[in-house]
């Protein structure tokens, strides 16, 4: 059974600092997604990672994938208040082209 674990689940940090959110998954998968959710709003797709060593970057966010370790990281560089949100990773279920298995989410608060 595919399970997805994120850590930390809650993170409070100062503006200007760097930090990393981790996403571990338990069985082989061919795709991994990162999403962002602002309070009271819907989920927004950030990145799709498909292969070992894949790296995607947008602004201060960079996501990477290590399929051998079954680990993805979401790195935040020089955090700004606008990045405060809950971040979810989701892993594709190899038994289904449609299903994603979701992590519990990391609530990130960035203080000015």
């Amino acid at each position: 059974e595919l399970k997805v674990e994120q850590n930390p689940l809650f993170l409070s940090m100062q503006e200007g600092k760097n930090y990393t959110i981790y996403c571990n998954y338990s069985t082989t998968s061919d795709r991994l997604y990162w999403y962002r959710q602002d309070p009271g709003k819907s989920l927004e797709s950030l990145f799709v990672l498909l292969s070992n060593g894949a790296v995607k970057q947008e602004g201060r966010l960079m996501a990477s994938l290590d399929t051998k370790a079954r680990l993805s990281t979401l790195h935040i560089t020089a955090a700004v208040h606008d990045l405060s949100a809950t971040y979810f990773c989701a892993v594709g279920n190899m038994d289904s082209n449609y299903q994603l298995i979701w992590g519990a989410g990391t609530k990130l608060i960035i203080k000015p």
């Binding site: 061919d30 797709s45 449609y98 519990a104």
Partner: protein, 112 residues
């Protein structure tokens, strides 16, 4: 832009009532999903549909049913609402390879 809309942002129902949650997408996506989101549990898949009139159970289908009579519309039905169905309900649609899910704004349902 993909647009996924849900019929209500907030809903309050009484125990035992039949509840309908509607979701409409405007991008001709084949796949549609219903999730519930609870704090600390991430997103859990209730049902999904990969074509009109086709449906498959997700991880937590008990107490729910769905209907997809038209490609753009996917309905979630709570036959007899119970208090443990109080939650945020998210609808999503997807297409393409790899499939990327696009989410609606969510319906916060309270069952009293």
């Amino acid at each position: 832009d993909v647009k996924v809309t849900q019929s209500s942002r907030y809903l309050v129902k009484r125990t035992g009532e039949k509840v309908f949650l509607e979701c409409v997408q405007d991008m001709d996506h084949e796949n549609m999903f219903w999730y519930r989101q609870d704090p600390g549990l991430g997103l859990r898949l209730i049902y999904f549909s990969y074509d009109v009139k086709m449906k498959e159970k997700g991880d937590i289908p008990e107490g729910y049913s769905v209907s997809r009579e038209k490609k753009e519309r996917f309905s979630l039905i709570l036959e007899s609402a119970s208090t443990n169905q109080t939650s945020m309900y998210l609808c999503a649609s997807s297409t393409g390879t790899p499939p990327r899910q696009y989410f609606g704004p969510g319906t916060r349902l309270t069952v009293t």
